[in-house]
Amino acid sequence: MNPDEPFNALTLDQWVPTAEQHQRDGFRLVQMTGTARADHFEILISYEQDYRCTHYRVQIPRDPPPELPSLSAIFPAAFTYENELKDLFGLNFPGLTVDYGGNFLRTKTKIPFSGEVTVKKETRTPAAKSAPET
């Protein structure tokens, strides 16, 4: 079983200093996850050292247009995650080292996860109903 690992909340201005601190301490960037909530975006970042992870969470309000300072200068691994967040959630990353300009994830709908987050209750139509009886 994975050990219980803490989830710490961060404010926006602590985002870059925390990353610099972890870079100095020799941590590795494990992942960045975005979650769209009703009035804000939640970004979760994990650093790891010696198989122990620390997670940090930051909340970005939806308007003005969401923006998060880029960590790609500190952790080179961050650029794929930031490009993904940019393409899925429409976040802006000032200072992104490798910017694919929204062409990294070629989804049919651009910025698919930025809209309403209310989960549509899909009516699951059984297959057998529509087919004619044999």
């Binding site: 297959a127 057998a128 087919a131 044999t134």
Partner: protein
């Protein structure tokens, strides 16, 4: 650079398989016996079914549809993921998992079973006088 034939590590293997009979089967004529656990397809026997609709409720992909009034039980094999939850949950033991894979489907079809099927009355024969 010249390599003698025996230096290549794969040469033994290639030689052996060239002299050996093929490891593959000649499929349509020679078929494998399936393992006892192989998830082939769902089989249904309507005899004991009391149309409790548990299987239809438990089915994660809604492949099974049961109608209590009409006494019909239908399965869409193209939706079925062979999780065999219906097999475990059927109280009457009507549903079973066959290890033989279902034959390829030519068209999308739903297999429907109906209890107390009444065959249409036989057509009245009209006596025709032979000429």
């Amino acid at each position: 650079m010249s390599w003698s034939w025996s230096v290549w590590p794969i040469s033994n293997l290639v030689m052996r398989s060239a002299l050996h009979k093929p490891v593959t089967r000649l499929y349509p004529t020679e078929r494998r016996t399936p393992y006892a656990r192989t998830r082939g397809h769902i089989e249904f026997r309507i005899d004991n079914c009391n149309f409790c609709t548990i299987c239809a409720h438990k089915c994660p992909t809604l492949a099974i549809q049961v109608n209590k009034q009409d006494k019909t039980w239908a399965i869409d094999h193209s939706r079925c993921i062979l999780c065999s939850i219906c097999v475990e949950d059927c109280r009457e033991g009507c549903i079973s998992l066959s290890p033989v894979p279902s034959p390829p489907m030519r068209a999308k079809e739903v297999l429907t079973f109906r209890q107390e099927y009444e065959a249409p009355p036989p057509r009245e024969t009209v006596a025709v006088a032979l000429p």
